[in-house]
Amino acid sequence: MIEVAALQKRYGDHVAVRDLSFRVGPGELLGLVGPNGAGKTTTLRCLTGIIPATEGTILIDGVDLKADPVAAKRRYSFFPDEPRLFDYLTVAQHLGFVARIYGVADADTRARELLERFELTDKAGELPAALSRGMKQKLVIACGLMHNPSVLFFDEPLTGLDPLGIRRMKDLIRSLAKSGASIILSSHLLHLLEEVCSHVLILKQGVTVASGTLAEVTNRFSNGESNVSLEEIFIRATGDSET
């Protein structure tokens, strides 16, 4: 469960995110969408504790990220758009390192399971330089799932993946939501959000323009028309901003 109340992020005089509030329950999948510079990345960075929020409350499974960051961080994982890995740790060692960070019990068994699940067993001894982009992406996800998080944050998860990789990523996200995880997914790809998300939050210049289930947001901006795509809804909600 993710609960955000009155989140604000300022850089000097510039307000990047203003008064953002929402809730993502177990099994729900919230799509975070907005034009360039809307504050999506800043929001994700605040939610994942990478940068501190200026004001507001972020609760991860009821734990306040500001008051008890250590306990809150144990409950989630963040998957960035670019798979950033340590140059000189092998695939297996990445999992071993994460296991030590989170104190995962029976780490070896868990690592083996994840390597098999993501078809990385043959690559266990390889360094990141020897992996394709898709494999690196898989490794980052395997690392993120090592400690069984209940909250997941994805930033542009389809970047750089081939069609098969895209299909697998979508299936993975759906299966994680089905297993009860609360997921926030930031993307420019509106068809992805339409396919996998249960909820959507449209940001513009750091402010919430629309928020709710896909049906609610569609109803609000459809002007009584039927079969209006999310792309059309997005354009109506944000004006003619560049995506």
């Binding site: 994982s77 140059d87 000189y88 360094l127 020897a130």
Partner: protein, 577 residues
């Protein structure tokens, strides 16, 4: 936390060593490594002395200039952190560290402690390199461990001080002491220090004039307040080099402890700056892999001032010069900056001449020496490190090949920017040499320093020949780039290592050999012409004649070289990523 970080560091180190060793199976990598090892063996390891430590050791010659000047280097590095800090608090994290460690269930203080430890860990390797470089075989003696420790303290302290100063400045900004005010305060302090130093110099002029040698003169100058006070932090950092083991150990631990505590008590937010800096560093690395050009700056790319209006570029070659000067990113490469630097040099010499009168030659000798070093460095080392030519454009080969120009014209254009930049630097060196030898000189040195008219001829001839020599020099690395493009372009994922350092060193020697080969003919012709005509014309006109003839032959070589470069360029195929 400690277990995880130890795991990360130790496994990364072991894997990095394995990767390097595995690379040595390739003959090319083995050759590079063997060359580097041989070079180190002959130039540093075989030597048993030359350690910095021995310079301060009991019984070391007090008249030696080097130990007196060494504290100036750490002082400059420490001062630089305050004078030219980055815009944001600097605790450097890599993007992978941000992903794995910022989201890890640790407190932020743990991240700072990790970074301090990582900084010291990294310092160890730099320290080992410096210790080997400056100490040679002595490093493996009983005292070697202490020397290595002293180097770790020095390198680590400078790195930690940079973090601490940047966080302190950020705290000051948050407290209302903004950048403009800090600059004004710094400028005022700088002016005050310079003014006091000049007053001190003036009041001690008789003693300084009586100095028998430059070393005594320098010792007296740096012993004067306020310079002596400014050097105190650097002297503390250098203390472990000359101290007894226990004192060195105690001082070193205290220095590192104080700096670490300074960083920890600041409680300054650093996350945003680290995220931004990591993003910029990643972008810089991507550019470096694409162009093979290293950049120190982490500032985002901004629109750059044009070096000259493009409308003046009547030929495509000049358009390349325009493009590559902009690509250099150094706004200080403008003609205005060169003119201002030359004017400052003239002003400095005028002030020193006025202050020192007939003893100006003592300072002038140093200026002329620095000028000569600049000149030689620009001529010999400059072409290896100034890569504003095809070497930085190899990543854009696809675009270059679409231009409706023959290869030789593209190559001629590519050679212009580095030649122009280095010509400016060498000309400044020549000016410094000339001005340094200006004025009264002791009779004993008159033969070495030449007569005033001869100095003008030498400086003029050198200035005339410089752009031609540099242009010829730049043909060598560009030819190598067309013959071995992979050496000049690091592809993503390709590990850098000692073998590459060896390749670069090997290439440096090749460049020197090529330079000798290219210059041999023109130099011989110039010398012969000078020798044969000096009986008829006298030394000055003969030197001018010899230089002109030498340059004519060199120009012919340059034309041939560019023509051949063009052929090679036309055959060059883009590297696949």
């Amino acid at each position: 936390m400690v277990r995880a970080l130890l795991f990360l560091r130790t496994r990364s180190l072991v894997n990095a060593v394995r990767v390097q060793l595995r690379k040595l199976r390739q003959p090319k990598a083995l050759l590079g490594f063997a060359f580097l090892a041989t070079y180190f063996w002959f130039f540093f390891f075989r030597r048993g002395n030359g350690s910095i430590a021995t310079l301060w050791a009991p019984g070391a010659p007090q008249a030696s200039l080097v130990p007196m000047l060494i504290p100036l280097i750490p002082t400059a590095l420490l001062a630089f952190a305050w004078i030219a800090p980055g815009d944001e608090p600097a605790i450097p994290f890599k993007e992978s560290e941000i992903l794995f460690l910022f989201t890890a269930p640790w407190r932020r203080r743990a991240l700072i402690v990790y970074k301090i430890a990582a900084s010291l860990f990294g310092s160890f390797f730099s320290a080992f390199f410096f210790a080997l470089l400056f100490t040679g075989r002595l490093l493996f003696s009983p005292r070697g461990l202490l020397i290595l420790f002293a180097w770790v303290v020095l390198v680590g302290a400078i790195a930690l001080h940079r973090m601490a100063s940047s966080l302190t400045l950020h705290r000051l900004s948050r407290a209302g002491v903004a950048k403009p005010m800090r600059r004004r305060l710094l400028a005022a302090a700088g002016i005050a220090v310079v003014a006091v130093a000049i007053l001190q110099l003036r009041s001690h002029l008789p003693e300084l004039a009586a100095a028998q040698d430059p070393a005594t003169w320098v010792r007296q100058v740096i012993g004067l307040w306020p310079l002596s006070w400014l050097l105190v932090p650097a002297r503390i950092l250098l203390f472990p080099f000359s101290a007894a083991p226990l004192a060195a150990l105690g001082t070193g631990v205290a220095i590192i402890g104080i700096l670490a505590a300074w960083i920890l008590v600041l409680e300054c937010p650093f996350e945003e700056a680290s995220v931004n800096a990591a993003g910029r560093a990643a972008a810089r690395l991507a550019t470096m892999q694409r162009t093979g050009r290293f950049s120190f700056t982490s500032r985002p790319k901004q629109g750059r001032r044009e070096p000259f209006p493009l409308a003046r570029a009547r030929t495509p070659e000049l358009a390349f010069l325009w493009k590559n000067l902009i690509a250099s990113g150094k706004l200080w490469l403008s003609p205005r900056t060169w003119a201002l630097t030359a004017a400052a040099l003239v002003a400095l010499v005028a002030v020193l001449s006025h202050l020192m009168g007939n003893t100006y030659w003592k300072a002038g000798g140093a200026i002329a020496t620095l000028g000569t070093i600049t000149m030689w460095y620009g001529l010999i080392q400059g072409p290896l490190i100034t890569r504003l030519d095809l070497r930085q454009d190899l990543g854009n080969l696809d675009i270059l090949r679409t231009y409706p120009l023959p290869g030789w014209r593209i190559m001629a254009g590519e050679l212009l920017a580095p030649t122009a930049v280095l010509t400016g630097i060498v000309w400044l060196g020549i000016l410094a040499w000339y001005l340094g030898l200006h004025g009264h000189q002791p009779p004993a040195l008159s033969m070495v320093w030449f007569s005033p008219p001869m100095r003008i001829v030498i400086a003029g001839a050198a200035a005339f020949a410089t752009p031609f020599v540099l242009l010829a020099e730049f043909i060598i690395p560009n030819l190598a780039a067309t013959l071995f493009p992979s050496l000049f372009r690091m592809l993503p994922g390709r590990a850098r290592g000692l073998d590459q350092a060896g390749h670069r060193m090997l290439f440096g020697f090749g460049q020197l050999a090529g330079l000798i080969l290219i210059l041999a003919g023109p130099a011989l012709l110039g010398w012969l012409a000078t020798y044969l005509t000096h009986f008829l014309l006298g030394a000055g006109p003969a030197l001018i004649t010899g230089t002109v003839l030498g340059v004519v032959l060199l120009s012919a070589e340059i034309v041939l070289g560019i023509w051949f470069l063009g052929i090679r360029f036309d055959k060059l195929t883009p590297l696949s990523e």
